[in-house]
């Protein structure tokens, strides 16, 4: 791991007894994600999906150059609010993660962490060609090429860069997916957790976090 603060260390308790600290295990919850079942009452699930689709809270995390395209959505010209789309500053309270453009390996680590900290059901919109196949950075030494190797993606929006209208269209698509009960990225992630994690670890050399960031 190589991170000094994550190495095991010995501290002394107030009584002078040594305590071994194993940061990764001691500070972080080690549980792995589980598949969260849909509500057994179909109509309730439908109602909930309707509400989820009308209240999309977007994590305010611009991961790449496409972040510039999200801002216009708040302006009078595009006014995404009318579709129930709002921005939240913390992953805990967000539903939608917009991966805005190319994703460097360094950022990927943060993306994984933030994604895992969001509460399910949660959705990912991949914005721009870079998230589909690497786009113009397809042979770059430090960007990823295909986002859904690392986290499940609900909607891809192609283009370099897609315009805000395209983004809005993507949101509409997402809403449709949610209403149809297909927005189960979180469960997909849980089901195929080992595969995702292996992919992530393959590309992130300095893996310095627990397997799942609660």
């Amino acid at each position: 791991m190589g991170k000094e603060e994550l190495e095991k260390r010995i501290v002394l308790s107030p009584d002078g007894e040594p305590i071994e600290i194993d940061p990764i295990n001691d500070y972080f919850c080690q549980d792995l994600p589980e598949v969260e079942k849909k509500s057994s009452i179909a109509i309730l699930e439908k109602f909930q999906n309707w509400a989820r689709s009308r209240s999309l809270w977007v994590l305010g995390f611009g991961t790449g150059c496409g972040a510039i395209e999200m801002r216009p959505l708040m302006t009078p010209k595009f006014d995404a609010y009318r579709y129930g789309i709002q921005w939240r500053p913390t992953p805990r309270q967000s539903d939608v993660f917009v991966i805005s453009g190319y994703l460097s390996v360094k950022t990927l680590k943060r993306v994984i962490r933030s994604y895992e900290q969001m509460q399910g059901p949660k959705y990912v919109i991949a914005l721009g060609s870079c998230t589909i196949n690497g786009g113009m950075y397809w042979d770059s030494y430090n960007t990823i090429n295909r986002l859904d190797h690392y986290i499940p993606v609900d909607v891809y929006i192609a283009g370099c860069m897609p315009r805000p209208e395209a983004l809005l269209a993507g949101f509409e698509q997402l809403k449709k997916i949610i209403r149809e009960g297909r927005g189960e990225g979180a469960n997909l992630y849980a089901e195929n957790f080992e595969w995702y994690k292996a992919n992530q670890k393959k590309i992130i050399k300095d893996w310095d976090m627990p397997d799942y960031n609660w």
Binding site: D15, I21, Y27, C29, D31, S114, Q117, W214
Partner: protein
């Protein structure tokens, strides 16, 4: 009865005989001398016993066949018996102490000692002026001989200075004696007294010479450099002799001769005495050499006695009682202190921590310091009390002020010294050699001064009434100190419980509440003491002494009993406070503020007693003269204990540094003594005015500002216990405000608030004490996340802060509600708003307390800490139960208090209907509020639990950290300088102005002290010039010119 002449005969005889023993026979000479001293002690004690049992009449002894004035006659009366006993015992015990040293020198040394004692005996007994001169000379030659035993330049040069000064003074005395003889035709003192000397032309100069010579013997300021030097330079054992035996004799000579002088001259001398007292104590402030410090102290005490004797015409018949009680204290204490100094032989009072090698010496040291300062149960306590009562009773306020200022200065350096001995680091290089013959005298004198205190008390009209049982109970724990904590704690609790059970019915209404706070509170906090292991030396006697004092306040019928109890409480709490870590400065400032406050109380009680036949506490009801002054003095005195603004600087450190169970004792319980004092003061004296300004009105502002300052300071503390300590200051501000309202609701607020504050502060201090116990740090930012390790303590603190913040539905709100009703009624809105503001600030520190300690990030090193000790939790949960009970049924607390207050303040009482309280302005039903809130809470909780029952428990670093992860708990826990923006905005309000003010006073006193001591440049000749100048100035003052 053995004829007193044998005192002289035996001493002289043995002294002569000893001369025949060669060097080999020095042992025999030594034992013989001791025997002789033992014999003379027996003789004088026998006479004393005779006088005390009132079987004996004074006896005159004539040395020749002639009657005076043609012969020399000795008188053995009651006073003489006292003084010779003191001198002879000092000779015996002092001789024992010096035995080895004297033996080294040989029989000559014993001869000098015997001659000294013999001389002093005659000085006391003789009624002949010339005889007096002769024996004074003999004594001083003997002393000079003793001083020179130590063959080092310091003692020799000091002895030389002493000889020079003594020569000059005795020359003057002789001149005066001869002139007196010339004018009166007699050398007999009684003969002189029979003639009215003021009418005899020219005799006033003779009187002037004689009296001034005697005064100079008593080392008045500033003509006393030689005296101080001798105290420092001579061997400590000899200094003890000088200070105790020689000074005692000199004082008696002065007492004997002073009636010769005219009344104005007596006043002049009294003034000199008082100046000496104050100036010497001031100079004592900057002394670091123990012997020199004791020298200044000796001189100051003698100065005080000089003043008292000079004022005897004012003081009246109790002069002798005062003089003897103060002198006896001084005698035992100073001898003991010099002896201890001789044992440990250091040049700096900072090295006195070596005393801790010997517990018994340390205890004795403490006893002597207290005896010297005049705290109970020592003789000087009664002496000083009587003195202040008499002086203030006769309107001599300037004298009272000077005496109190001087005493205060003395207390300052004495307690600083005691603090050094108890708390400073042990110097490694010094290890005192403790020899039996040196330690026995110390112990003897320490025991004697306690006994003397008891007898003095018994001989005092009101001292007799004092209930010594609680104190005796406390002191009994000294004897069982070897037992483990468990047994002692059980005994202590049983004692308090039994006492409360036996007596609670005898307390009247409001007293009973405070008795319950003091005693039941004491039991509760003592419960926590079971957590301690080992013996816990020195805890129980003082804790119980404090409780003895507290209960004494409740039981006091007379002003003396009250004051006695007040002082007792101070002593006990002082030792409890000084037990803490780093408590040295805090304990000192606590003691100084307490003593300052106590002196104000004493002065106030004294002035209140003007024109009163008796000294029962009821005199406060009928103060006619100077009532506002009395009120202010007493109120300020009490407010030193409630730590009101300006007088609060002792509190935070003292309470913060105390042990886990001591903090609640001193904070939750002790502070209520001040409230109790203010309460009985207000009850007795009602509203007083300065001009047209009502004093309670001023008090209300004091209360409001105290609350504001205390709470604001609390919000900015990093130290958890300091935070609580400042919060106590703020809380007491509320209590003072409530009392100052002088209305039913106001007092109800104050009293119920006192009860609540007692409970919640005990709860919080215990809880935090338990945390500190485990974590071994008080800095909040070093803690965090302890809710997972200490859930029980967390719950205590949670309830504690909710009560403290006054948030409904817990009982804290009842205080706030009452407070507003009272403010509305009294219409003191601005103060009320300030208090409300401070109440809101309480949220700041409440949150900080619980957040920084229990919430946030758990630190690595605290990962395995255990819950606080069981016995520290027990009292907490008892208190919690009571608090919650009162929260549910507030009427059960408020109704009885209201009924108790009805006789005093019938107007504006609360109307109760079940638990619904109604006043003119508002209403409140604690029970239904509780039910509603609990109801809503349960429903919401149930709903949340149902919705989130599957919530996943995650760990401390599983937080959203801007897509990063935390580095370390230390850097993730936000606790240091928690209210930084607040500090930035209004932090200037809590700039340490008051602390700086007191610091400047302290520095100023030291600077003045420094300037004064520069007078004593060490040159013997300069000292002589001082003496001559002194004589000239006194002459000019008394015979015109000035």
């Amino acid at each position: 009865m053995v004829n007193p002449i044998y005192i002289v005969a035996v001493l002289l005889g043995v002294a002569f005989t000893s001369g025949f023993f060669s060097k080999k026979g020095k042992n025999i000479a030594g034992y013989l001398s001791m025997l002789a001293l033992g014999f003379v002690s027996f003789v004088s004690l026998q006479w004393l016993h005779g006088f005390l049992s009132e079987q004996q009449a004074a006896a005159q002894i004539f040395t020749t066949a002639f009657k005076p004035p043609f012969s020399i006659n000795l008188l053995m009366g009651k006073e003489e018996a006292v003084f010779t006993s003191l001198i002879n015992i000092m000779g015996l015990i002092g001789g024992l102490y010096l035995f080895r040293k004297l033996k080294e020198t040989g029989s000559n040394a014993f001869i000098a000692l015997l001659l000294l004692i013999m001389g002093l005996n005659v000085i006391v007994m003789t009624r002949d002026l010339f005889n007096l001169f002769v024996f004074m000379e003999i004594s001083s030659i003997a002393i000079a001989g003793l001083i020179i035993l130590s063959q080092n330049v310091k003692s020799i040069s000091s002895g030389f200075k002493y000889m020079l000064a003594g020569g000059l003074i005795s020359g003057m005395l002789l001149l005066g004696t001869v002139f007196l003889y010339y004018f009166t035709g007699t050398l007999n003192i009684d003969g002189m007294l029979q003639q009215n000397l003021n009418l005899v032309k020219g005799s006033s100069v003779a009187v002037f010479l004689v009296i001034t010579a005697i005064v100079l013997e008593l080392k008045p300021f500033p003509a006393n450099g030689w005296g101080v030097d001798v105290y420092e330079g001579a061997d400590a054992g000899i200094s003890a002799l000088i200070s105790s035996a020689y000074a005692t004799a000199s004082v008696y000579v002065f007492m004997k001769l002073i009636p010769v002088a005219s009344e104005q001259f007596q006043f002049l001398i009294a003034a000199i005495g008082i100046i000496t007292f104050v100036a010497s104590n001031l100079m004592g402030l900057r002394q670091s050499n123990p012997n020199r410090l004791l020298g200044y102290s000796s001189i100051s005490q003698i100065g005080l006695l000089m003043a008292i004797i000079g004022l005897s015409s004012v003081i009246g018949e109790s002069t002798n009682f005062i003089v003897i009680s103060i002198l006896v204290s001084h005698y035992f204490a100073k001898a003991g202190l010099f002896w201890i100094s001789g044992i440990i032989k250091t040049n700096s009072i900072r090295d006195w921590s070596v005393l801790r090698h010997s517990k018994i010496l340390l205890v004795s040291f403490g006893i002597f310091i207290f005896a010297l300062v005049g705290l109970p149960p020592f003789p000087s306590f009664f002496g000083k009390w009587e003195l202040i009562m008499n002086l203030s009773g006769s309107h001599n306020f300037i004298w009272v002020t000077a005496i109190l200022v001087g005493s205060f200065l003395e207390a300052a350096y004495m307690f600083r010294w005691l603090g050094y001995a108890i708390k400073l680091e042990l110097p490694s290089e010094i290890k005192p050699v403790i020899k039996l013959n040196k330690i026995i005298p110390v112990i003897l004198f320490a025991a004697s001064v306690i006994t003397a205190g008891y007898f003095t008390g018994m001989n005092h009209e009101y001292g007799k009434l004092i209930n010594y049982i609680p104190l005796a109970f406390a002191l009994a724990f000294v004897l069982i100190e070897f037992l483990p904590v468990f047994i002692k704690n059980t005994l202590a609790i049983a004692g308090l419980a039994l006492y409360f059970y036996l007596n609670y019915q005898s307390y009247t209404d409001i007293s009973r509440i405070f008795a319950a706070i003091f005693l039941l509170g004491g039991i509760l906090t003592l419960l926590a003491g079971y957590a301690y292991k080992g013996k816990r030396l020195g805890f129980f006697p003082f804790a119980l002494m404090m409780f003895a004092g507290l209960i004494g306040l409740i039981e006091a019928k007379s002003t003396l009993e009250f004051f006695y109890a007040w002082e007792l409480m101070t002593i006990g709490s002082y030792f409890l406070i000084i037990r803490g870590k780093k408590s040295i400065t805090h304990a000192l400032s606590y003691m100084l503020f307490s003593i300052g406050g106590a002196y104000l109380i004493m002065a106030g009680l004294g002035i209140a007693s003007i024109g009163k036949a008796d000294l029962t506490l009821s005199i406060l009801h009928q103060v006619t003269e100077y009532a506002p002054l009395v009120f202010i003095l007493l109120a300020v005195g009490f407010m030193t204990k409630t730590a009101s603004i300006g007088l609060h600087i002792w509190l935070p450190g003292a309470h913060a540094e105390a042990e886990a169970d001591v903090s609640p004792m001193v904070s939750a319980i002790l502070l209520k003594a001040g409230v109790f004092g203010l309460l009985i003061l207000l009850m007795a004296m009602g509203e007083q005015f300065i001009g047209k300004v009502s004093i309670p009105y001023l008090l209300s502002w004091v209360g409001a500002l105290t609350a504001l300052m205390g709470n604001m300071m609390a919000a900015f503390q990093e130290d958890a216990k300091k935070l609580l300590a400042y919060s106590s200051i703020g809380a007491l501000g509320y209590a003072v405000f409530g009392l100052s309202l002088m209305s039913h609701l106001g007092w109800l607020t104050a009293i119920s608030f006192s009860i609540t504050h007692f409970m919640l502060k005990a709860l919080l201090f215990l809880a935090i004490g338990g945390v500190v116990w485990r974590l071994k740090t008080k800095d909040m930012y070093k803690m965090g996340g302890l809710i997972k390790r200490m859930p029980f303590s967390f719950f205590s603190v949670l309830i504690g802060i909710i009560v403290l913040a006054g948030v409904p539905p817990l009982t804290g709100f009842s205080g706030k509600w009452l407070f507003y009703q009272a403010v509305m009624e009294k219409q003191w809105f601005l103060q009320g708003a300030v208090l409300f503001f401070s109440g809101i600030i309480a949220f700041l520190y409440c949150f900080r307390l619980i957040h920084a300690i229990f919430l946030g990030q758990l630190k690595d090193e605290h990962r395995n800490v255990k819950e606080a000790p069981f016995w520290i939790l027990v009292p907490q949960y008892i208190l919690l139960a009571v608090l919650l009970g009162f929260s549910f049924l507030p009427g059960s607390m408020l109704k009885p208090i209201g009924n108790m207050l009805l006789p005093f303040l019938p107007d504006g009482a609360i109307h109760w209907n079940g638990q619904l309280a109604t006043t003119v302005y508002g209403y409140w039903n604690g029970k239904t509020v509780m039910i509603i809130i609990v109801g809503i809470f349960s429903v919401v909780f149930g709903w949340l639990w149902f919705m989130n029952r599957k919530a996943r428990k995650i760990k401390q670093f599983n937080i959203v950290y801007a897509a990063e992860r935390p580095f370390r708990p230390e850097t993730t826990h936000f606790a240091y300088n928690f209210f930084a923006p607040y500090k930035k905005a209004i932090g200037f309000l809590v700039a340490p102005g008051i602390t700086n003010f007191w610091n400047r006073i302290d520095e100023g006193a030291h600077a003045v002290s420094d300037k004064f001591t520069k007078l004593y440049n060490g040159n013997g000749q300069t000292y002589l010039i001082h003496i001559v100048a002194f004589i000239v100035v006194i002459y000019l003052i008394s015979f015109g010119g000035f």
